[in-house]
Amino acid sequence: MPFKPGRNVNLYALTWRLPIIFWQFVFFVGPVLFMVAMSFFLVKNYRMTEAFEFVNWSRMLSRGYFWDSYWYTVIIASVSTVCAMCIAFPAAFALAFRASESTRRWAIFLLIIPFFTSYLVRTFSWFVILSESGVVNAMLATIGLGPYTMLNTNFGTLVGYMTLTLPLVVILQTVTMANIDKTLVEAARNLGCSAFRTIWQVIIPLSKTGLIIAAIFCFILSFGDFVAPFYLGGSQEPTLPILILDTTKSGQQWPRAAVVAIMMMLTLFAIAFIGIALAYRKPKGAK
């Protein structure tokens, strides 16, 4: 076959294009679609049988404990997102506007490291640090406070979530704000905007897209994490991931776990969709 420049379909082009299509269809799209199908299967005598019944759906969605768990997870993931966004903001602001280029690069370099290191061990470390006789309470005792119960509380869960999300949120916020045109910020200051008004009316609107994307990632990570609520929150109120875990690991109730998983995915799609719509919405009055 004669070579034609810009030609899209030949052996060479397909060699590079097809592997991922094959791989992801078999090992990504396949599993996800099968999970959806599985949510209609039946379990009889601890064995899963192929069927098309809505019984798993009606069972799960009519149970109070599912909806308790659902709203608890949505709320605590939202609280986690708000906390992470607020805690990260001053740090990201400092790194974006007050730090030199090289400091900023080093900070991001350092913050990438925990993202790729064992979250499990870090959580266990918090477990030890936050326990009744742990490091934090021992330090508080020296100034006559405590001991406080931090494990098996929502506070514990949130500490875990922050461990997971904070580095990423700081990175995303920093990168977003560092890309703002500095002259606009200076112009606002010269026009007499106070520091806080500048942040509120200039910096945040200008970095809106990046901030919303950071928040979406933060929500996804918190929403899907089972380690923090399990080990630090004590799973008194199980979150949805813990529900999936329990349902899967005990009694082969995979179809019901699939129902929970699909509900989680739908929720995340909705959140991501709303977030992205907000992020790219034109500001009021703009042409």
Partner: protein, 266 residues
């Protein structure tokens, strides 16, 4: 001016606190791994290597370490290959359905691991591939390929778009050009992608736990020990795991950054 300096100092302290929070669990875990107390607190107990001795004597840990090594190496190779193919296709070609094509590789990391774990477990059981070491490798390749793709795609972005045509113009076929121009150009990014995907795979526990069956990896061993009770062995294994994954991530970043510095100089 004075308030400005004060604000800078406050912000500096704040950033330091954030870093302290982020790195505290890593550092404490390392300290505790050498601490004699079973329930570590302040003041610290005496220095000990007891926990390391314990894990080194544990054949399960050795086996898991070997499994982790195999899984992360194979995952790195497969994911980097897939990432490279996709990054190059995206760089070189425009075709219909390119959006869905890219979504195919980029979506997995946005889905919670617990869901991926359930889906993979069910699917692998269905097609008779569950409970094997290669099940973990396959699952991890799906999860980590996007990282490889992103790193290599960024590198291709920095390539002079005429470079490939120049090689054809000098008599190189498309295949020769791939071998003698594209791959050499992407080498640092490929190295970076290998280390990064290995690091992600080395630490992943949710999917591994679900699909590995009896072939446990290190994170799965940790998960099981943690489920029992406080056992400082976890700190010892954890320190080991931290050091490996940090080394991998730092190597990945060095390859990535050194290349960028070079491109700035030219």
């Amino acid at each position: 001016m004075n308030t400005n300096r004060a604000l800078n100092v406050i912000l500096g302290i704040y950033v330091a606190l954030i870093f302290a929070f982020v790195f505290a669990p890593i550092i404490f875990s390392m300290i505790f791994s050498f601490n004699s107390q079973r329930f570590p607190t302040i003041p610290l107990g005496s220095f000990t290597t007891e926990w390391y001795a314990k894990i080194l004597a544990d054949p399960d840990v050795w086996e898991a370490a070997l499994n982790s090594l195999i899984v992360s190496t194979c995952t790195a190779l497969i994911a980097t290959f897939l990432g490279f193919c996709t990054a190059y296709s995206d760089f070189r070609y425009n075709f219909r359905l390119k959006g869905p094509y890219l979504a195919l590789i980029l979506l997995p990391p946005t889905i919670p691991l617990i869901i991926m774990a359930l889906a993979m477990l069910a699917w692998f059981s269905r097609i008779g591939m569950s409970g094997q070491l290669y099940s973990v490798i396959i699952a991890h390749s799906v999860l980590t390929a996007p990282f490889a793709m992103a790193v290599i795609r960024l590198r291709l972005n920095q390539m002079d778009p005429d470079l490939e045509s120049a090689a054809w113009n000098l008599g190189g076929s498309e295949w020769q050009t791939m071998r003698h121009v594209i791959i050499p150009f992407c080498k640092p990014a490929i190295a970076s992608a290998l280390f990064l995907t290995a690091a992600v795979s080395f630490d992943e526990f949710a999917v591994s736990w679900f699909v590995s069956g009896l072939n446990k990896t290190l994170p799965v061993i940790i998960l099981e020990i943690v489920q029992g009770n406080i056992d400082p062995q976890v700190n010892a294994i954890g320190t080991f795991v931290f050091l490996i994954s940090m080394t991998l991530v730092v190597l990945a970043q060095i390859f990535f950054a050194s290349r960028q510095l070079k491109s700035i100089r030219t």
